[in-house]
Symmetry: C2
Subunit: 422 residues, 2 copies
């Protein structure tokens, strides 16, 4: 790994992958086609892109049953325990409607209401993660969303990965469709004969999925445009090089565009981690991917001080941050931008990917500067509640009317005055 001394505050952020105009026009075409031809368009794109002609887009009970035969009892138990941890954590995010009252009879508040229907996109291929199902479906259920739909591109034999189906079934999701890509996003946004539209679309995907989500944004809501995974480890000389190296590699193996960065004031640690990474890399099954990721987006930044290292971390605003210093808790208040913060030597990042409970859907590519990981909040909306009594309105009518006239809106003023006309 490259070791660089960071002496000035630098801009380390990657540019956002926004797709080409050619990709965008392809996506626009697919969306238009799905809106025009519905299911038939979905089936023909599935044939073209996934290599299988489907009679029905729906996953059947039979397919679910077969999926269970391909998942061991041990894995099933782990999925169940992970689901329990995730539910336990997300339950604590749930918010209640509230009101405030005033003596003049005014009542103001916020009504929290779950979304009616949400769609979850689960990518296919190497990224077909049952954990994605858990992380998206459970907060929706905790929020109280009644209709939860999953779509995922089928394998060449027309099936979905067993782990995905088992995870979905364990959570009680009944509506699962075998369709991927921009066409799946179009179907979720606009609906087809088989797939009723949803109100918000969640889940990661390739550039076509991302562009499609961007295009349907407004028609429906979307969660975020997720980029490749990232880890930043903030460590001092007390940290263990082998542990840091293993954690860096766990992100690097995701994707050639994943990013794994160590920030430390210790040159000694930097050198030791670089050596350990080389050593551990050798025996990894996904060695080629991890090596390419480290080559392109990996780095070890050596700062003068720990305080400076914290500033570099805030500049990077990483998806995952591990704090492996002598007193990690002490730094928590200084960390302004990170999707998830893993504290101490035993909070290896994979703990959060699967099991601990917090959501693994997190802001990437520096967007932790302004956005948050997935939570129950993303599955509800808030409506203001306003009740004014007669005395409350009488008391304030003139002020409201004056303000309205200041903004040139006479009918606003008159609406209030109409109540007190003789």
């Amino acid at each position: 790994m490259k070791i660089e001394r960071v002496t000035n505050r630098v801009s380390l952020r990657r540019t956002i992958e926004s797709g080409t105009e050619e990709q965008r026009s392809k996506v626009l075409e697919i969306i238009a086609d799905v809106r025009a031809r519905g299911d038939e368009a979905l089936k023909s794109y599935t044939e073209k892109f996934d290599g299988v002609r489907l009679d029905s887009l729906c996953v059947t009970d039979e397919e679910i049953k077969r999926a269970y035969q391909n998942v061991s009892a041990e894995v099933l138990r782990i999925i169940q325990e992970a689901a329990e941890n995730i539910r336990d954590y997300h339950e604590r995010q749930k918010r209640e409607s509230w009101i405030m009252t005033k003596e003049d009879g005014t009542m103001l508040g916020q009504k929290i209401t779950p979304l009616d229907a949400v769609g979850l996109y689960v990518p296919g291929g190497t990224a077909a993660y049952p954990s994605s199902v858990l992380m998206n479906v459970i907060p929706a259920q905790v929020a109280g969303v009644k209709r939860i739909v999953i779509t995922s591109p089928p394998n060449k034999d027309g099936t979905l990965p067993a782990g995905v189906l088992v995870a979905a079934n364990e959570l009680g999701v009944k509506e699962i469709y075998k369709v991927g890509g921009a066409q799946a996003i179009a179907a979720l946004a606009y609906g087809t004969e088989t797939i009723r539209p949803v109100d918000k679309i969640f889940g990661p995907g390739n550039i076509y999925v991302a562009l499609a989500k961007r295009e349907v944004f407004g028609q429906v809501a979307i969660d975020m445009i997720a980029g490749p995974s990232e880890i930043v480890v903030l460590a001092d000389e007390t940290a263990k090089a082998n542990e840091i190296a293993a954690d860096l590699l766990s992100q690097a193996e995701h994707d050639e565009r994943a990013s794994a960065i160590l920030v430390t004031p210790s040159m000694k640690l930097a050198l030791a981690v670089a050596r350990e990474v080389e050593k551990q890399l050798e025996t990894l099954p996904r060695k080629a991917i991890a090596a390419a990721s480290l080559e392109n987006y990996g780095a070890i930044y050596v700062t003068e001080t720990l305080a400076e290292a914290v500033e570099v971390v805030n500049e990077l605003a990483p998806e995952h941050l591990e704090v492996m210093t002598a007193e990690p808790m002490q730094l928590l208040g200084q960390i302004r931008h990170a999707g998830a913060i893993f504290l101490g030597s035993f909070s290896s990042e994979p703990v959060g990917d699967y099991f601990a409970g917090p959501n693994h859907v997190l802001p990437t590519n520096g967007t932790a500067r302004f956005s948050s990981g997935l939570s129950v909040d993303e599955f509800v909306k808030k409506s203001s509640i306003i009740f004014y009594s007669e005395p409350a309105l009488k008391q304030n009518a003139e002020k409201i009317a004056t303000f309205a006239r200041l903004e040139g809106l006479e009918a606003h003023a008159r609406a209030v005055e109409e109540r007190f006309k003789k």
Copy 2:
């Protein structure tokens, strides 16, 4: 106003205004130009679109002083009282970081952190509302945002509206720029010599502003793409026709594309409201705008039952909903989709626009189905906190490793196992 009987559940939603490809390419050009030429691009667009050549984009103390001379003491007091109400309401939305602990030493939680810097776009012309300043700046301040920037297009004489400047100054906003349109959004997203970039952009604007916000989304966060204002009044035979008519007109006067709709099971009320609207419309200063809005987007829907009327309301998912029935509170639980809910006869919609406290930035065009009005939540982000103790990790290491291997991610498994290697 048109009166229609609604016998079936109908789709009443307007299509989203998404701009033309020509407008989009204009916007892309402006964004690219601002990135390339910075302040100089801002000044030349301001000359072109706003008709004034500025030496400096910054609002000076002198300009603030002059603005105060153009605002009466009464208006100033109302602005201050409105600000107090808005602050009081939004303070109650504030959330604290939280943790949960387990006996094995595990600590999980969420850290709430304010955004570093936000930009507020205030439209110019007839829509230059001081209330916009209050509604966007106060939740940012309650959230703890340190840097708050306002941009707004200047008048032909190179000034900003007095009300906007006074409202901004009352709240202590120091960074105010005289620039509007897509160029302002580009500056907020990418920065120029004068304007440092922000992390999230708020505020309404014309189609160019909306398209620009859409384009910079990802580089920064944006609040929402706001459409024309809307009101739906849900009323039964106990409601007063003159009050409903006045409230409908208060939305209709906003914009020719604004929408004002009455939904009622009472044909008698429908007829009376239609008559009252005609009568009150006659003497309105913004009669032409209100009449066009009613013609194009106004309607009175008459249903068979009140329950059916509630379903029509949910279908419309209005920005503003007034419930003027005998027992409005009783219907609250049935209303699933509305930006703000005004209950009872004395909660005229303008009460919420300026004064009561809840935010007037609300989801339009049916997006209340999946989104919420502006709140303190939009000015903070949440980071997960994960601390695993040695015993906690030891207890779960094997399960996490198994799950990782199920997803084909060996390095994830090894990262956990690395902690317990001899």
